[in-house]
């Protein structure tokens, strides 16, 4: 317990409005234990009272992969650019799940935590950041599955082209996390007062998946659609990951730069909007 020394009598000042870009990183750091508790809670409560436990994190991607192989690979006959179907779909699903789960976590920050936020103060950013982290853990579990399947194909003598750009994997995750966080925060800030958007966001996200090369490679798109798809800042990330480990897809440095700049701008806007709403959202939610 820290006691008050006259020397560090810095008052806490509660004002009508904070600065636009004021993010109290020190306070965030002070609440790191709360961040840890939220991450833990997210993961632990997911599989409480289940027999399979954390294995449940794998059921959804496995079944989805099988379904995609049947519908998109089999019925629709969409090419996977020469990569084995299970690996192709699994990699897409893994990245997309991370993005969409993180986006959902941060876009529902105010709605799902209104009761807690209404009673106690702590830096609200702790909650979406914890959401990013717990989803990272879930993705880590799925990554283990991916690596196992991948190793299986290797052992079976399948020629998979791995290259050094796979080392950029952490960067890809960072980009996805940044996009999910900033878009989510903007949405959550706006929907805390005007709920109209909340209904749009639900199926908008589903539609958005089809505008991202998750279940198809960018190469199958015609030139016209290709330009549109390349405007999507997530496109270069998905393509680059598949390029790194499966040898299909494409690595576009320009695209990754575009994605990073897009993310920085979105994050900038998100912080401004979130800061404004954070202080009085209890009055409007």
């Amino acid at each position: 317990m820290e006691t008050l020394k006259p020397a560090n009598r810095q008052p806490l000042v509660i004002r009508p409005r904070k600065g636009l870009l004021e993010v109290d990183l020190k306070a965030l750091w002070r609440y790191r234990d709360l961040w840890y508790m939220y991450v833990r809670r997210d993961i632990v409560t997911y599989y409480k009272q289940t027999v399979l436990g954390p294995l449940w994190f794998l059921v959804q991607p496995v079944l989805t992969t099988v379904m995609y192989m049947f519908v998109f690979g089999g019925l629709a006959g969409i090419s996977t650019d020469g990569a084995p179907q299970p690996l192709f779909y699994l990699s897409g699903i893994m990245l997309w799940n991370y993005f969409s789960d993180s986006f959902n976590a941060s876009s529902n920050v105010f709605a799902t935590n209104a009761s807690v936020f209404g009673k106690v103060y702590f830096p609200r950013l702790v909650v979406p950041l914890a959401g990013l982290t717990s989803n990272l853990v879930k993705m880590g579990i799925q990554l283990v599955l991916f690596v196992l399947v991948y190793a299986g194909y290797r052992i079976a003598g399948q020629g998979l082209h791995v290259n050094a750009t796979l080392l950029l994997f952490p960067l890809y995750i960072l980009l996805l996390a940044g996009h999910a966080l900033s878009w989510g925060l903007i949405i959550s800030s706006v929907t805390s007062k005007y709920r109209d958007l909340r209904y749009l966001v639900g199926f908008g996200l589903q539609l958005f998946m089809y505008a991202t090369p998750v279940i198809y490679p960018l190469s199958v798109a015609s030139d016209k659609f290709r330009t549109v798809l390349e405007l999507n800042p997530l496109t270069p990330v998905f393509e680059a990951f598949k390029y790194g480990c499966l040898g299909c897809g494409s690595l576009s440095w320009g695209g990754l730069l575009y994605s990073a700049v897009f993310m920085a701008v979105a994050l900038f806007v998100a912080v401004i909007v979130f800061n404004r709403v954070e202080r009085t959202f209890m009055d409007t939610v």
């Binding site: 008050l4 009598r9 008052p11 000042v13 509660i14 409560t45 807690v116 009673k119």
Partner: protein
């Protein structure tokens, strides 16, 4: 040294529902203030918060221009009627919502007991929830670990600590929540009527802990309660809020008096309530509870209610003073009528007379309002004077009975005792 400074703090709330029209208000406000650099068209409305009367605008000041300082180690009671702005004040201080105007400066960690058990997750065990709840309140894991055993002990849930909270009784959940909060050890503690939780045994513990915190450990405490006996026993200073403003700030006893007599500005003399009297009587003065005014307070611990009637009579007469104690709903609760019970009226010669009686009050008089009727009567013969609703007494409640269940809002209640209290 100041621990908290409220500096012209105000909070504006929007009435009605948020929906259609909000966007146009927001756009209009943005247009007026940012682009045309004018005053906010909605902030200008200077209405105070009076929930009974309908105002002209959809906005209301829950708090307006609040300024006061709290010294380090001071225990301040915030009192006021429902809707006076107490909870808003605490919400601003605990940073749940931001003020519209002004500034609050606070030195030290603030913890609020606005609601206990915040962030409890039904699926998690008591142990996990203690860590979660503690972290939400701003404790580090190391701090919680150090106090873990004390918390479990205080809550009395040791056997259930590894059981999910959804299996707990509601009382156990609340006790666990309070226990975490009680071991928070902040420099500034904000308490809002949390003492009304749990059974009698736990309440005693909670009050004891509150007293330790405020007295022994020298923390700054802001305490909001409707229980005047609790405020009196815990606080040294009282701040009375009314319609969003500070109307009194001073010693706790004076503050409580002020609060009790609020909105009783149309105070009247008791003798104005005389509705009937014999022609030979002229009443100069009726004094109830030490005042000629018709509103007064029965303080916690007060055992005697003095009543005096003075006047002139043109003839000799025999009489007796009858005092009826009634509920605000006009239900008689008790009467002083010694002339009839004991057959001993008082005899007066013509001229000045004075009747004084010290009534022994019931030992346990709960918080609430009582109405007093005063009658002069010659027992078995005739009525001489009637003053219905002559005085209104506001009982603070008795200091020992901390329990709220006994204080049924403003109805008042007399506590009974059994012959063998321990049986």
């Amino acid at each position: 040294m100041n621990a908290i400074e409220f500096d012209h703090v105000g909070k504006l709330y929007q009435l009605g529902s948020v929906g259609t029209g909000t966007l146009s208000h927001d756009l209009n406000r943005w247009w007026q203030t940012r682009i045309r650099r004018r005053e906010d068209p909605y902030l200008r409305v200077g209405e105070t918060n009076d929930r009974a009367s309908k105002g002209g605008s959809g906005f209301v000041w829950a708090l307006k221009d609040i300024s006061f300082d709290v010294e380090e180690g001071e225990v301040v009671g915030i009192i006021g009627k429902n809707g006076a702005g107490k909870s808003t004040l605490l919400k601003l201080l605990s940073q749940v919502t931001a003020p519209t105007t002004g500034e609050i400066r606070a030195w030290g960690r603030i913890a609020s007991l606005l609601e206990v058990g915040t962030g409890f997750h039904q699926e998690m065990t008591g142990r996990e929830n203690i860590y979660m709840n503690g972290a939400i309140m701003g404790m580090t894991r190391a701090e919680i670990r150090a106090k873990f055993d004390d918390i479990v002990d205080f809550a009395g849930v040791a056997r259930y600590i590894d059981t999910p909270v959804k299996r707990y009784s509601s009382g156990m959940t609340v006790r666990l929540g309070f226990a975490v909060a009680a071991f928070l050890e902040p420099e500034i503690l904000v308490v809002d009527e949390v003492l009304a939780v749990g059974d009698a045994e736990f309440q005693k513990k909670a009050v004891g802990k509150m007293q330790d915190v405020s007295r022994g450990e020298g923390r700054t405490v802001l305490f909001v309660s409707h229980n005047m006996a609790a405020v009196r026993s815990l606080c040294q200073r009282g701040v009375v809020l009314d319609r969003g403003g500070v109307v009194f700030d001073g010693g706790v006893a004076e503050a409580i008096d002020h609060y009790m007599l609020q909105n009783k500005e149309q105070k009247e003399k008791i003798i104005n309530h005389i509705h009937w009297a014999k022609p030979h009587l002229q009443i100069d003065r009726i004094v109830v509870n030490g005042t000629e005014d018709d509103h007064s307070i029965l303080h916690a611990g007060q055992t005697i209610l003095p009543v005096r009637v003075e006047g002139q009579s043109s003839i000799d007469f025999k009489t007796d003073l009858i005092v009826l104690l009634k509920s605000p709903m006009d239900v008689p609760l008790a009467s002083l009528n010694e002339g009839v019970y004991k057959g001993s009226p008082l005899a007066f010669k013509s001229g000045h007379f004075s009747i004084s009686k010290d009534i022994v009050l019931p030992k346990y008089l709960c918080r609430g309002n009582y109405v007093v009727d005063i009658v002069l009567q010659q027992p078995g013969s005739e009525y001489q004077l009637g003053a219905r609703h002559a005085a209104f007494l506001h009982a603070e409640g008795n200091a020992d009975a901390f329990a709220r269940p006994m204080s049924l809002n403003d109805s008042g209640l007399m506590g009974l005792e059994t012959l063998y209290p321990d049986a």
